[in-house]
Every structure is written in C-alpha cells, then in structure tokens.
C-alpha cells in the first residue's frame, strides 16, 4: 500500500498561532479517505499544504511521492475543491469548462460536459447565480475534469443542504468508481462521510487519534454496556476509548482485535460517528490533562 500523502512533523504557524503542529500522517492510495476532526484541528491547513497553496513552517510532506505542487507536472496530478467551492462568479458554467480545458493539458472535455449535462446545469448560466449545491458540483467537475490521481476536497458539503449533500456525494462516488482515483476529503461531521469513506482519519489538534480502513475500525471497536466497572481494570488487549457511567451501569467504547468473552457485557455494534466522537472526546480530555 503506497501513500498518496505522507507528512512528517508538519507545522504551519501564522504569526504566533500554530494552525498545525507536529502533524505526522500517512494517507494510503486507492481509498476514499475521510479526514475528520473538530473545527481548528488543522484539517484545512493540512489540505492547503498538500495542494501547495500553503508552505509549511516546519516538517516535510510528500504528495504522490513529490513535494506538493510547485511545477505543472505535480499540479496536474492533484485535483482540489477548496472550502466553499470557489468559482469565478462572473463566468458562466461553459466558461468554467473552457478554463479547465485551457489550463489543464490532461483535461477530459467529454467527461466534464457529460457531468454538467447529467447535473442539468445551464451552460450559459453565470456561476455567481448557481445554488450552493450546483456551485459545489461545478467545482467538483473542474477538479475531476483535469483527470487527477488524487482528489482533495476541503469540507465539500459543509454548506450544502441535505439533498444537495446527498447528490454531491453520489456524484463523487460515481467519479471514483469510473476513474482510478484516490480521494481525501475533510469534514467536521462524520455523518457526512460515513456513506462514502472507506478509510477514516480522526485528527484532533494536529494529532492523528485513529486511522484505518472503515471496515477494520468497525470490526475492532465495540460498544459495551454492563454493570458499573472501573475502566482501568479491563483485561489486556482491550483499550478503552471512552467510558460513561450512570449509577450502576457503565458504557464503554473499546478497541480490541479479539472477541469480547466476558458475559457480563452486552456487546453492540458501534457506528462510525460514535467511534470518531469517542476519539475526539478522548483527545480533548488528554489535552485538558496536558494543560493542567
């Protein structure tokens, strides 16, 4: 499994504020990777560094085996839909396709036009008058039309209504199925990504809390409920990610590669959202402890 993005101790400072610090991660190729984390985790900064828009203050990053996007050869291999899907408001949809064709030697005009037609976008309409969903779709078409090997999307659905969200992700999945494409998309909501991602990375304050294929994560995490018990007294090989207690009862989210054999526990299937939230909560608690 090769990595599409590999970063080592990556950091970005704005004046005296570190937007990202000491971020080491590896994003495997051939996946639709969801990068999840609370606001301020450094997701956008990381993605902007990966696309070459920002230069890191410290550390190194390689995208598709080279430093990100300085030369056209590298720029052509990565497609990017930035946060809020910026487009030229004064240009029409057709003119955007023309921009894509003029600025990208590998531009796939047939693919782009077919997508626009399928979406029912009016070629003559100014991009500034498109709805949020249509705008995002146009930005996605531009990013896909350049035939990238890696597609990076920064909070692509954050501002879309539920229907537009569903349509956008559907289109994205179709593109992934048609082309040999690795995808990295960020969101602060797991529920956005649950349907489409097969690999999850949870990022909290620049740190990777958990990363892995979704199936594997779901198979190794369990939600246990049973009589109240001290989470520190669990058997070896079983890591408690989060614990909540009521008077007599404990609910634990645990990670283990083995089976849960203790009959005292009721084991239930964990959702990806519960899992990600548990890791974020754990990281937040740890951070508080560090600050003390």
């Amino acid at each position: 499994m090769t990595a599409v993005i590999e970063s080592c101790k990556l950091g970005k400072r704005y004046h005296s504020m570190w937007a990202l610090s000491d971020c080491t991660l590896s994003i495997p190729s051939g996946h639709v990777v969801g990068l999840v984390g609370p606001n301020g985790a450094g997701k956008s900064t990381l993605l902007n560094i990966a696309t070459g828009l920002l230069a890191p203050t410290t550390g190194t990053i390689e995208v598709l085996g080279t430093p990100p996007a300085a030369r056209p050869a590298e720029l052509s291999r990565v497609g990017f839909v930035a946060q809020d899907a910026p487009v030229y408001t004064a240009l029409t949809v057709a003119e955007h396709l023309r921009v894509g064709a003029r600025l990208n030697p590998r531009w796939d005009a047939r693919l782009a036009h077919a997508r626009i037609e399928r979406l029912g976008l009016n070629l003559k309409q100014k991009a500034g008058t498109l709805s949020g969903g249509q705008r995002a779709q146009l930005a996605l078409t531009l990013a896909i039309g350049k035939r990238p090997e890696l597609l990076i999307l920064d909070e692509p659905v954050a501002r879309l209504d539920p229907l537009a969200r569903r349509e956008f992700l559907g289109e994205l999945m179709e593109a992934v199925a048609e082309q040999d494409l690795s995808v990295l998309m960020s969101s602060h909501l797991v529920s956005d990504l649950e349907r489409v991602c097969d690999y999850l990375i949870v990022l909290v304050v620049s740190r990777v809390c958990v990363a892995g294929p979704v199936e594997e994560l779901l198979a190794t995490h369990h939600l246990l409920s049973g009589p109240r018990r001290d989470p520190d007294q669990m058997p070896p090989g079983l890591r408690v990610i989060s614990a909540s207690h009521t008077g007599r009862q404990s609910t634990l989210l645990v990670r283990t590669s083995g089976q849960i054999l203790d009959p005292a526990w009721t084991v239930s299937q964990v959702t990806l959202e519960d899992l990600a939230l548990a890791y974020m909560k754990q990281a937040a608690i740890r951070q508080l402890e560090v600050q003390r």
């Binding site: 828009l53 920002l54 230069a55 300085a70 720029l75 930035a82 946060q83 921009v99 600025l103 990208n104």
Partner: protein
C-alpha cells in the same frame, strides 16, 4: 491562461475602449474646427513678428476650447491613477477575497505564469490607453500650445512643453505613468490582499510620486543650459529698498517655451548679488543703475529641444519602476505560499 485573463479583463477593457473612443470622437470633431480657427485668425501666415499679437486674439476666440484643453489635461493626469486603482489594485485582491486563487493555483499552471499573464494583458492595455489619450490630445492641442507660448502666460495652461501640468499630459510620459500605476496597484494588492486598502495605498503612493517627480527629479534629469540676460531688457525686477533687489525670470525671449530652472543676479565677476548700496532708492531707474554696474541675470534652463529626451528619460524611469515592481510580485509569488 491568456483566455482567462482576457475574460476577467473584458469588462474593464470595454469600459476603457469606450472612454478612449469617446475622447477620440470629441477631439476628432473639434480638432479640425480649432485648426481652422487658428488659420482664420492668421496664425499660420503671421510670420515671425506679428504672431504674438494675433495669438491673444486666437486664444480669446478659442475660449471654449481652452476649457476643453483643461478638462483633457485633468483627464490624462487622472487616467494612470484610475488604472492603478481599478485595474491594478483589484487584480489579485479580488482573487484573494473571493477565494478563487485556490481554484486558479490548483490548475496545471504555475502561479508565476498565472501572474505574468495577468500582468501582461492589462499592463499593455493600460499603456495603450494612456499613450492614446496623450498623443491624441497632443495633436488636438498643438494650436493652443503654440499660441499660448507666444502670449507668455495669458493662458495659464500650455505655457510651454515643460510647464507643470503640460509635460505630464503630453508625449509618451503618460504611458510610463500608467504602467507604473498599474504595477503599483498590483503590488499593493499582493501585499495588502484587500481591495479597498490596496486602492488607498496605491493612490497615496502614486500621488506622492507624481508630485515628487517634477519637483525633485525632473530638473536633474539633464544638466541645464546656462545663459545670462541683460537687466535692461528685463521688466520683472523687484526693488525692495535698502538696495535689495531680486529677479524672477519666467521665460527667455530667445528661448520661447524653455523651462527656467533657476535665475539670479550676478555681478560682472559672476558672483551672486542681491543688493547694491549704489543703486539704493532709484526706484524705476534701479535697473539702469544695476546694468551700469555690470549686474546681469544668470539663468539656467532646459531648452525646448530637450522635450523629447526628457519625455523618453522620464518614461524610461517609470517603465523601469514598473518592471521592478512586476519582478518583485512574480518573485514573491513563486517563493511564498499563501
């Protein structure tokens, strides 16, 4: 990339073309009328001596054209500033403000090429517009300029090719101003990243430079010519009592239109003098007294033949500044990431 640059610049290009066309039509309609008035007043056939008297008549006949002359001058002086404000400053800030730089810079094109193409097309257009305005105006205004030179100041504008608003509105200098103002706007936009503050900074710096240039730089571009003028032929003397006097030479009869850089009274030995006890209290006869003592006026000036060399030099300076700013922007963009 040229296509995108053109597409983004299209509206401004249309506005500029319309403005230039309106200007050209106005001058093309009135220019021949002005020229025929010039002929009708006998200015083309007056020879060497009689023109000065006719020039005053011509200028009063051409009263409404004088207003137009003033308006055109103001327009040509403002055009580079407007180009800097409305073409230069928003060129990049608009991309920052709408986030479209993230779209542009992730296409298969380096940001150096992106900026170079954004600089070239509007930059050349800016120079073309400014040069078009000033050359058209120069053609149109030639009769007024010639007449005004002969009347020595009855018409405040057109006092000579070097007079303050005229040098800046004629020839090719406006082309240099426009190129400089445009790149100044782009640079301000790149550093400040917000349109309105970038426009304000552009205007402030450009205005300051346009004031500093004629006052501090232009007089030193070429070493001035020197001559002396006999006091007897000079009327503008001021005798302030105690034998003190001063002369302020406005123009040289032998060099109509020349730019007087400095003038001062000197004695027979060539030393500067400003008082003479011997000539104290002579009133109107002070000049003759000073002349008898050998006092003359030493004048340094730029002859009118220096007009085009000075235009070229000044245009060159502004173009060089524009190139430096453009180079700085390109370099900064290629080295720094946003």
């Amino acid at each position: 990339m040229m296509w995108l640059t053109w597409r983004q610049f299209r509206l401004q290009a249309i506005v500029a073309t319309a403005a230039l066309a309106a200007f050209a039509i106005a001058l093309a309609v009135t220019g021949p009328q002005l020229a025929s008035l010039y002929r009708a007043d006998g200015m083309t056939t007056c020879g060497d001596s009689g023109c000065a008297a006719l020039a005053g008549d011509f200028l009063s006949d051409a009263g409404s054209y004088q207003i137009m002359y003033g308006l055109c001058t103001v327009g040509i002086l403002l055009a580079p500033a407007l180009i800097g404000l409305f073409w230069g400053a928003p060129l990049i800030t608009r991309e920052f403000e709408t986030g479209t730089f993230r779209l542009a810079w992730t296409q298969t094109i380096t940001r150096t090429r992106w900026l170079a193409s954004k600089l070239v097309l509007p930059g050349l257009a800016a120079m073309a517009v400014a040069a078009g305005l000033s050359l058209l105006f120069g053609w149109w205004a030639a009769p007024i300029g010639q007449a005004a030179r002969l009347t020595h100041g009855s018409f405040p504008l057109g006092m000579g090719p070097f007079s303050l608003p005229d040098f800046d509105a004629h020839g090719i200098a406006p082309l240099g101003y426009a190129a400089f103002a445009f790149t100044l706007g782009v640079t301000a936009g790149m550093l400040i990243r917000r349109t309105i503050p970038a426009m304000a900074v552009t205007l402030a710096i450009f205005a300051a430079i346009q004031v500093a240039m004629p006052l501090a730089v232009r007089p030193h571009l070429f070493p001035p010519a020197r001559t002396t003028v006999a006091i007897g032929s000079f009327a503008g003397a001021e005798h302030v009592g105690n034998g003190h006097f001063s002369f302020n030479v406005m123009d040289l009869p032998s060099q109509p239109g020349a730019w007087i850089i400095s003038s001062q009274a000197v004695n027979a030995a060539g030393q500067s003098v400003s008082s003479s006890a011997a000539c104290e209290g002579r009133g109107q006869n002070g000049n003759q007294c000073l002349a008898r003592q050998g006092v003359q006026i030493a004048v340094t000036y730029e002859p009118t033949s220096r007009f085009w060399p000075m235009q070229l030099a000044e245009t060159g300076i502004y173009l060089a500044l524009a190139m430096v700013l453009a180079g700085y922007c390109l370099r900064r963009l290629s080295l720094r990431r946003y």
